[in-house]
């Protein structure tokens, strides 16, 4: 009897502790999510209502027209399309170029391998702002300013992606390649049909994080594509601020729509997101 009372008091303590934990975590989560809720509520208000002091919490009348207005206030459709193009271009480019190089660095023997790898890794250390001026010149010389490829060209090559995939290729067993080679498969075939499918989780993680970085990138698009028709949404939305300084509902509606694709990617591919972050932070 005594024992059971001890146990139940312990359980009560555990419960009190876990309630406190939940309260603290929920408060934090509220701080994280509230701005988005506020964005949605603001987008659903009329322009006049947003200027009310004190601010109203819920809209007096729900008004969704801002979500349509943003398509006329900006070349919003084109901007979304440019974002998609930029994101797909960078992601596909990185998957192709990085996986090829990563495979060679991890599994093939060649002269100068470690020197070349160190050279490639050094790209990681250079701040991007240091490269932006000549990169702009190159794009200009190629006649690509204000074009879709300008957005994704430099971003297709990534030292981070190469490094991350190489770590994965290193873990694969040697026997697979040997068996394939005995069967007469060439290097490209071994890479494509045997090794690449085995690192699919890493490819997915890299794709997801590259997509996020591309969708959210701001500095580079601001520099190379100054024509609103050619801007991705990340840069395009900033022009709403000057133009429609007071039209908060439209601004909020626009930024919500523009955030939505990545939020959906995140919700559906959360596992890969988490993995890609954990991978970038792991020591192995």
């Amino acid at each position: 009897m005594r024992e059971s009372s001890v146990r139940s008091s312990a359980r009560r303590r555990v419960n009190a502790g876990s309630v406190a934990t939940h309260v603290a975590l929920s408060l934090g989560a509220l701080v994280m999510v509230f701005p988005f809720l506020w964005q949605l509520l603001t987008a659903a208000k009329s322009l006049a209502e947003t200027a009310k002091v004190p601010p109203t919490f819920l809209p007096d009348t729900w008004n969704w027209s801002s979500f349509e207005e943003v398509f006329t206030a900006l070349p919003f459709r084109e901007m979304l399309f440019n974002s998609v193009f930029n994101t797909v271009g960078r992601t596909v480019g990185q998957l192709v170029f990085c996986s090829l190089a990563a495979y060679a660095f991890a599994r093939m023997q060649f002269r100068g391998r470690s020197v070349l790898f160190a050279l490639f890794l050094s790209v990681l250390m250079v701040p991007s702002s240091l490269l932006v001026l000549p990169q702009y010149d190159i794009i200009q010389r190629l006649g690509l300013l204000n074009s879709a490829p300008a957005l994704f060209l430099p971003g297709m090559f990534s030292a981070f992606g190469t490094f991350m995939l190489r770590q994965f290729f290193l873990t694969l067993p040697k026997e697979l390649e040997e068996a394939a080679r005995i069967d007469g498969a060439g290097p490209l075939r071994i890479f494509w049909s045997i090794m690449l499918p085995l690192v699919r989780p890493a490819l997915a993680a890299l794709a997801v994080i590259t997509a996020m970085w591309s969708w959210n990138d701001l500095l580079w698009p601001l520099i190379v594509n100054t024509d609103p028709q050619k801007m991705p949404i990340s840069a395009g939305l900033t022009s709403l601020e000057g133009q429609y300084e007071t039209n908060f509902p439209v601004m909020m509606a626009g930024s919500l729509i523009a955030s939505l694709p990545m939020l959906l990617v995140y919700v559906f591919l959360q596992r890969h997101f988490v993995q890609s972050v954990a991978l970038s932070g792991s020591k192995s």
Partner: protein, 315 residues
Amino acid sequence: MMSVFPSTAAAKKAGRGEPAAPPAPKSRSQRAAYLFIAPLGIGFAVFYFWPLLQTFYYSFTEFGAFGGHTWIGTDNYVRVLKDVTVWQALGNTLIYCAIGLLALPVAIGVAALLNRRGLRGVAVYRALYFIPFVTLPVAVGLVWNWLYNGDYGLINEAFEWFGADRRYWVSDPSTAVYAIGAVMVWSTTGYYLIIFMAGIKGIPQDYYEAAELDGAGPLRRFFTITLPLLSPTIFFASIICMINSLQTFDLIYIMMAEKNPAIGDTQSVVSLFYKWAFIENAQGAAAALAFLLMLIIAALTLVQFRLQKRWVHYA
């Protein structure tokens, strides 16, 4: 938007020779290997190595009104070092860095709470904390500007409720830099949370059980087990955090309108670089400024590596 720094262990591994594929027909497989790395190598040469040399060259030149660069020696560097706005931007950048680092203790705290045995809803919390990090920076900047708004903003409402004065948070030079810094912390906490959760997962559960048997409470366990064993992860995260906050640009660009009176008090080194290079056409000076930033990043990273012996414990 962010760079990733390889951890020491990984960097060391990279230097050493790795176990390689068996030496099959040599010349053919060598050629294949070069073909495999060629596309990336060409991309790097064109878009990274060549630009690096170019920037170095630009930093000793002046960009003329009709195009073309004229060699002016070290004048740009002298200009950069003498310019008051550079020092101000540098000061602001260091403030962003210091504030940005606050995301680490917050993330560690949340990660420790989430590590509680038998806690439900861990995945949900993790998802909610991570959402600000995946959201478009423009969306983040716009909504926070709105929350900070001096006339209709919700934050003033809350402050008034507590009896404090209403403020124009992002146009008041005394608060603007902190207002932006707070948003930085808010939007990056989730990222570090995931890194720390992965780190904590690597700590053997037995340590906690043993400590519990010895009567150590949750706080004690946190300070004697979690924190020291997490120190390599904290080291890694602090380096990433530092490098990223030294390159702050997006939020400042979005949150600070051109006419904002606090612009000088919030401008970071990268925003000043952007202004010089692409608005004022002072490309040479901008290039010199970018090199200065790189030197600062390298120096601070080196200091961190030096200091690591004092507080990082590798198990």
